[in-house]
Symmetry: C2
Amino acid sequence: MTETQPLEPEEWEFWDVWMRAQRLLTRELERGLQRTCDISKAEFSVLVTLWQAGRREMRVGELSESLDWDKSRVAHQLTRMEKRGFVERTQYGADGRRAGIGLTSEGRRAAQSAILVHGNNIRRHFLDSLTPGQASFLRAWSEQAVDRLDSPTQLP
Amino acid sequence: MTETQPLEPEEWEFWDVWMRAQRLLTRELERGLQRTCDISKAEFSVLVTLWQAGRREMRVGELSESLDWDKSRVAHQLTRMEKRGFVERTQYGADGRRAGIGLTSEGRRAAQSAILVHGNNIRRHFLDSLTPGQASFLRAWSEQAVDRLDSPTQLP
DNA sequence: CCGTAGGAGTTGACGCATCAACTCTAGGCA
DNA sequence: TGCCTAGAGTTGATGCGTCAACTCCTACGG
């Protein structure tokens, strides 16, 4: 189907520096979040998603969809965050037994401050380092990549 | 020091799609490697690094430096890979007690085939999706990002 | 010769991520 | 009514990744 010759050294090098850049960037941001807010990247994602839902409770399936995480990953993460007091699982519906997920007040505080801090870090380490041209370029590439990679999993 | 206003929704969206693209790409590549070679990304990194060293043994510190991994991460990974039969720890020097790391023949086979397979996947999912202009653009950004993020950790 | 500082490597604990197996409930249908 | 299947959610096992604490050797200084 496709050519099956090994990658050129230059291609490897490209791939390597690309991966390295991503790792350094995410590592830097995650450390910042951890140090200043004592929040992990995974916790941050959950907090933000619930925060955006306002006071409405979400269900595991919704969270899973919106984060594009495995359901079991969500469940594990919620267990840890419930222990930390950031979220609570309540009952869903009148007499049903499904769990609804909501932020505690502690969770709301954490979300609010983390969004500020993390936003600033993103600006400092990423957005501010880009010219407007670079930014729109990267954004276009990202959208193209997501389109290309995300749809094949939609098969029935 | 820096402006402390929250990110614009558009900036969040940019950040989000950018992260999503990376996650989808690395997830796709890691799954391909796992399915076709039964090798994880971490194992792959170690195999390649040792492969590039030829038959010369490396020490943990060298591996750690070259992969830009924490020493303890290297040690844990080597323990797992030793169990799988990919690498072996031998004695280093005449009467010294430091461990030297080498590939087993099994490890060499795995490395060789994984480099081919993974290289092709990188080509399919990443390199082939870029115009030459995009490629040199991304590469330039990566190098710039690595320069910016890597040096601050070099402080004495 | 002793002891002490520092570097190399390992280990343990814990959170993140994924896969497979399990439970529970609801809804459909004989 | 009673079974039975499908979907939602949970749990366990295992590997990855990080931090801190530990061991063991080596080198240096008295």
